[in-house]
């Protein structure tokens, strides 16, 4: 069995906001192997995005704080990596697609500029002109050569406004990244990439912007792609298109993907392994089909019943009574216990039930649940 690209072990993240401390993530463990697509679902505020941002250390620290746990990416614990080395990991190691395609592209730069920056970073790192993340050494960072002076002067590039005509875009002035940029625009199935190169984000539709974002993330050839609700901000038809594209690309490129979504329908057909989060904890994880067909945590069961089309053909949709607990005032024991139909006094005892495997199977892919009574969950309607 191949080594995992990413191993998250016992990750606990707190936010210190005002007087209180929000326990955003508690004891989350996860493994992603090369080429594997792992999905994370859960309600708003359950810690999905915190997890996605914590892995490449993109959380603002403070207020966020990684209290404990390890994030081992290709053999290096990212929690211990000093902040100034993190750009070496991001991009070429871990790339990310964000939720808001509207604001995730710099409004002042053309599509070409956005993508060229990503390609440039990859080229510089590959050619050794910028220090690169190297997992196969004792010290994973290579400082052998100092970074080169930026070509043409960074400040000059920053101040001179971008081009305006298509001729300008197609001219040789675009520099040597044009072919790479075009290749990735074609990869994300953008029609007429030559014209799109010279457009600004405000001239693109939401779906196009998200495609450009995906192209940006992929053009750095990351070993792990984190997709943080990549389709939530799009309307339904575009959502389907982008999802189809993502699925095809995942097959084509064979990169490991952490796919975060609150939409079970989106995630159902995309992922190999499905994790369900509730109130900052991973409550169930297993092969996607198994989790969908026979959920072993009452929250997963309830979540599936609350999905349109799945519970019943007519009548009111099933809901989960109660609300997600306040993450700054947690009660002892299982976090789902106050809303759970199976709850018993033992559920309110600390510690929180651990993830235990159900049945037998190869360790990482086995179906695991954090419920004390998985058999009874199976009996629920």
């Amino acid at each position: 069995m191949t080594d995992p690209v990413l191993t998250v072990e016992g990750l606990t993240v707190n936010y210190s906001v005002g007087a209180g401390t929000f326990h955003a993530l508690q004891d989350v463990s996860l493994e992603i192997r090369p080429g594997e697509v792992v999905g994370i679902v859960g309600e708003t505020g359950c810690g999905k995005s915190t997890l996605g941002h914590a892995i490449p250390r993109l959380l603002p620290e403070p207020p966020a704080r990684i209290e404990s746990g390890r994030i081992v990416f290709r053999g290096t614990d990212l929690v211990t990596v000093p902040r100034w080395k993190l750009p070496m990991v991001r991009g070429t190691g871990i790339a990310m697609i964000f939720q808001e395609p509207l604001n995730s592209l710099n409004p002042a730069f053309r599509v070409y500029d956005q993508l060229a920056e990503a390609v440039r970073i990859r080229r510089l790192r590959e050619s050794g002109r910028l220090p690169m993340f190297r997992p196969d050494r004792d010290d994973p960072f290579d400082y052998s050569r100092p970074p080169p002076p930026p070509k043409g002067g960074t400040l000059a590039n920053a101040i001179v406004p971008g081009g305006v005509t298509a001729e300008a875009v197609q001219g040789r002035r675009l520099g040597s990244y044009r072919d790479d940029v075009l290749e990735y625009l074609r990869l994300v199935r953008i029609n007429d990439p030559e014209t799109v190169l010279g457009l600004y984000p405000h001239e693109l539709s939401g779906g196009m912007r998200q495609r450009v974002m995906i192209a940006m993330a992929l053009s750095e050839k990351p070993s792990l792609l984190i997709a943080d609700e990549p389709t939530s901000a799009l309307d339904v038809t575009i959502q389907a298109q982008v999802l189809t594209l993502l699925k095809e690309l995942i097959d084509e490129i064979h990169t490991a993907v952490l796919f975060i979504s609150h939409d079970l329908g989106v995630i159902a057909e995309t992922v190999d392994l499905l994790g369900v989060m509730y109130a900052g904890r991973l409550v169930e994880i297993g092969p996607a089909a198994e989790v969908f067909e026979s959920p072993r945590h009452p929250y997963t069961k309830a979540l599936l019943r609350a999905t349109p089309n799945r519970s019943k053909a007519e009548g009111a949709l099933d809901t989960i009574p109660g609300a997600v607990p306040n993450l700054s005032r947690l009660r002892p024991g299982c976090r789902f216990q106050p809303r759970c139909v199976l709850a018993r006094p033992v559920c309110a005892n600390d510690p929180h039930p651990p993830l235990v495997p159900i049945g037998f199977g190869p360790a990482p892919a086995v179906h695991r649940t954090a419920c004390l009574f998985p058999e009874e969950v199976a009996q629920l309607p």
């Binding site: 939720q99 604001n103 710099n106």
Partner: protein, 332 residues
């Protein structure tokens, strides 16, 4: 992006907006005149800075386009001789302020997380700024000018010392607004280093308000400098180095001013036109810097973008590949 493209863009914007064109032409003319005056003033004027003519209180005429004053100084010559000094002083003060204040503002705005080294430096910068802002800048500049010993360069230095805090505040505010936007986070996620994010992504997106403020500020500096020149008596008039502000304050004491309006008209109009020119230019620059308005300006007035080549055009509806990504760029 080549020089030709830049010029073409520039021309398109100028053509689309007549006021910007006017502002640009005025600034160009002012700078050209200032250049000529600095190299060889005798090409444009017939009198030296303290050279009197035979006529005093002469109204505007061909010999004296802006008239003469009580001792027979040709006001046109005086105004023109003051041009390079005034323009240079205004640009130098604003330039130094935007460099110092802008850099400090960037640092204070971008690295402001409490409990880190950046947060500490941010506090130091902002509190220092507050100390300067606590004094009225005009009084502070006056005090510095006088304590340094009265003179034009003392006044310039004093204004530079008092002018930068406004830019710290302005730049910091803009940086705070921009730095939490998702595209900054996206750049960080793409592995862009912090320095490059600041210089490339942040600076480019805060340029518009700063350029507008800066060009308007040139006029303010001109007026304030003239005030200091007058109150601190930093640049006596009449002297070998005439200056618009000191000219104005000198002539407004000559009574009755209603009988000789041309005395104050010359330097007043010079200040007015300079301030106006930079304000109009600043307005136009904002349009150039914002890709949205720039594209709209260029599209509406110049020829449209070339048609999409036939083989790459939005495909037939039965093309499965096209259905997959059926979106086409939105028309502007």
């Amino acid at each position: 992006m080549g020089v030709r493209d830049t010029l073409r863009l520039f021309w398109a914007v100028l053509r689309a907006n007549p006021l910007t064109l006017a502002g640009f032409l005025m600034v160009a003319v002012l700078c050209g005149l200032a250049g000529i005056m600095a190299i060889d003033p005798w090409l444009l004027v017939r009198y030296g800075p303290i050279q009197t003519s035979s006529a005093s209180y002469a109204p505007p005429s061909w010999a004296h386009p802006l008239g003469t004053d009580n001792i027979g100084l040709d006001i046109y010559s005086e105004v023109m001789r003051a041009l390079p000094l005034d323009l240079g002083i205004a640009l130098a003060i604003v330039g130094a302020s935007v460099l110092i204040g802008g850099l400090l503002g960037l640092v204070a705005g971008y690295w402001d997380r409490p409990g880190t080294a950046g947060g500490a430096s941010s506090i130091v910068i902002l509190r220092t700024t507050d100390v300067f802002l606590a004094f009225p800048s005009l009084l502070l500049a006056l005090a510095i000018t006088i304590s340094l010993g009265r003179g034009p360069w003392q006044a310039v230095l004093a204004l530079m010392l008092t002018w930068w805090p406004y830019y710290v505040r302005l730049v910091r505010g803009e940086v705070l607004a921009v730095k939490h936007l998702p595209y900054i986070q996206a750049a960080r996620a793409a592995g862009v280093s912090e320095g490059r994010i600041v210089l490339r992504h942040v600076v480019r997106n805060i340029l518009e308000p700063i350029v507008v403020y800066l060009t308007m500020d040139i006029g303010t500096v001109l007026v304030v400098f003239s005030t200091i020149a007058f109150v601190a008596d930093a640049i006596p008039y009449p002297s070998a180095t005439p200056e618009w502000g000191s000219m104005l304050s000198y002539y407004q004491q000559i009574l009755p001013i209603a009988s000789y309006p041309w005395l104050v008209f010359g330097p007043g109009a010079a200040i007015f036109l300079t301030v106006l020119a930079f304000s109009l230019l600043g307005d136009g620059l904002r349009d150039v810097l914002d890709p949205r308005t720039r594209r709209a300006l260029v599209r509406s007035r110049s020829r449209p973008l070339p048609e999409v080549p036939a083989e790459a055009s939005p495909a037939r509806p039965d093309d499965p590949e096209a259905k997959l990504s059926g979106e086409v760029p939105q028309p502007a």
